[in-house]
Amino acid sequence: MPDRQEFIDFILDHYENPRHHGALDNPDVVMRGGNPGCGDIVTMYLKLGADERVEEVAFEGQGCTISQAAASIVTEKVLGKTLAEVTTLNHELVVEEMGREVVEHRIRCATLALNTVKAAGRKYHSGQATKSAAEAPVEDF
């Protein structure tokens, strides 16, 4: 298992070089999630293909290192998965990847992006998905 410093380096790498960062032009669903306790916000964009498989994903956001690095990590996790698979992803996935010791006191920051993308999946299935970031309200997680 990586040591604490390796987890921190991993998190800082995702924070400083975020994967899939930005907005998608014609997303099938946009979801914004916020953490009112500390002011973190992430916006997740998904574009779906056959079988509701995530063909493209992107995120934008602002907030602490943990919340933004987690969003970058989550984009890697959901790419290529079906929405049904995305909605069953577990918090443990991010917590273990980021290092339990580093994020255990900041679980809300670490899981904000995952909660947001799972909510995006549920929203899409309910037929109420928003396709524009400007129209998406920030939902608290």
Binding site: C38, G63, R106
Partner: protein, 413 residues
């Protein structure tokens, strides 16, 4: 006559607080800079709690047996000490609650529901802690009352330029903190109280950050109610104080119902007890009163002028050193207008990240909105980092904080 503050040595007083000797993890000593959230406890308080439970524990009032009488005397003894500490006229004016929050809620429920009607105006400031906002918002919603707000300047002080206009609306009550838990600002509550009284309003002062850190005399303060918490002033958690003018408290209906707050109960009605018991339903925080009494004795031994002078020195040093660090912005007024609190931001680093990196070096600060979301909205900030000081903090604690901030900068640089 000007009083010269007695001095004490904070470095020596550290030995009174056993927790300050602990290491957060092996080889990493604790640097405690979070006393605005809760203070550490001196040995005399820990011993008073221990002695009470080992030797005298029993329920209070109406007991005939020896232990019940001892427990009652100790519980009421704590009240007497608090009375003297804030110079209240009588122990009838000292109501024990769980904390400052419950004390404010007591006034909002009891006085508020009897006296606030549709269209009445309630005033509070934009720098209040949530505990001095939400109870009034709940009351206003329930009664259809209106709220008027005293704004905060860019420099972190109350903007009183519109106070006359607010008071012209004949508010029923003006609620103001004596010292901000974020900015450290010491507000001119005596002046505000005089003006509010002239307009016919009552004044509630949130003294949670002031009673622990500076001399407070309720006979000269000018307030009608003050609220504070024991745990922020070297005492235990679970006990707080509402002080109110006796005539007002006498008129107010009971808050919670139950044992101890009654004189006589019938199957379909009750007669309330006398002050202060009228507002203390159920078994109270007995050991905590004993502990708070010991805390008050400890603080009185040092002298509150000396405590304030010491914290002024530390915060002056802290502001100087924080301003040396590139990218640090400190919020609030100059050191000579504040207590021992410094909220700051570090450019491009989220406060939670700052706090987590500092924690690795044993430095305990708080990051977040510090239960003052509207104040953070005022400055367009989701959160700040906050270092807060008490009688046991020394300049070396500030040095550790500054070294830690340079480490944070290096990590995120």
């Amino acid at each position: 006559m000007a009083t010269v503050a007695k001095t004490f040595s904070a470095a020596e007083r550290r030995a009174d607080f056993p927790i300050l000797a602990r290491e957060v993890r092996p080889g990493v000593p604790l640097v405690y800079l979070d006393s605005a959230a809760t203070s550490q406890k001196p040995l005399v308080v820990l011993e008073a709690l221990d002695r009470y439970y080992r030797h005298s524990n029993a329920n209070v009032h109406r007991g005939i047996h020896t232990l019940a009488e001892e427990a009652t005397a100790l519980y009421e003894g704590g009240r007497e000490k608090v009375k003297r500490f804030i110079n209240a006229a009588s122990t009838k004016e000292v109501i024990f609650t769980r904390n400052a929050t419950e004390a404010i809620n007591l006034v909002a429920y009891s006085w508020g529901r009897a006296n606030i009607h549709a269209g009445d105006v309630i005033v509070y400031t934009a720098m209040e802690h949530h505990s001095n906002l939400v109870p009034w918002q709940m009351l206003a919603q329930e009664k259809g009352a209106r709220i008027a707000i005293i704004p905060v300047t860019d420099g972190g002080e109350l903007d009183l330029s519109g106070l006359d206009d607010i008071l012209a609306r004949q508010p029923r009550i003006v609620c103001v903190s004596q010292m901000s838990n974020v900015l450290g600002t010491i507000n001119p509550v005596t002046e505000i109280a005089a003006r509010a009284h002239a307009a016919g309003a009552l004044v509630l002062v949130d003294a949670a950050q002031s009673v622990p850190h500076l001399p407070v005399d309720v006979r000269t303060l000018g307030a009608d109610f003050i609220a504070f918490s024991g745990h922020k002033m070297c005492g235990p958690t679970g006990i707080g104080v509402l002080w109110g003018r006796q005539a007002l408290l006498e008129e107010m209906p009971p808050f919670m119902g139950g044992g101890d707050m009654i004189r006589r109960v019938y199957l379909d009605s009750f007669k309330p007890n006398e002050l202060p018991h009228k507002f203390e339903a159920g078994t109270p925080a007995i050991a905590e009163s004993v502990g708070l009494g010991a805390a008050v004795d400890y603080l009185s031994g040092l002298g509150m002028e000396a405590v304030q002078a010491h914290e002024r020195e530390i915060v002056t040093y802290a502001l100087d050193r924080l301003e040396e660090v590139p990218g640090v912005k400190v919020y609030g007024p100059a050191a000579n207008r504040r207590g021992g609190v410094a909220a700051f931001s570090l450019e491009n680093v989220h406060p939670h990240d700052v706090a987590q990196v500092l924690d690795r070096d044993g430095i305990a600060i708080r990051a977040g909105h510090h239960c003052a979301m509207p104040l953070h909205d005022r400055y367009g900030l989701p959160a700040t980092s906050r270092a807060s000081f008490y009688l046991y903090n020394v300049p070396e604690d500030v040095d550790h904080l500054i070294d830690g901030l340079y480490k944070v900068k290096k990590m995120f640089g």
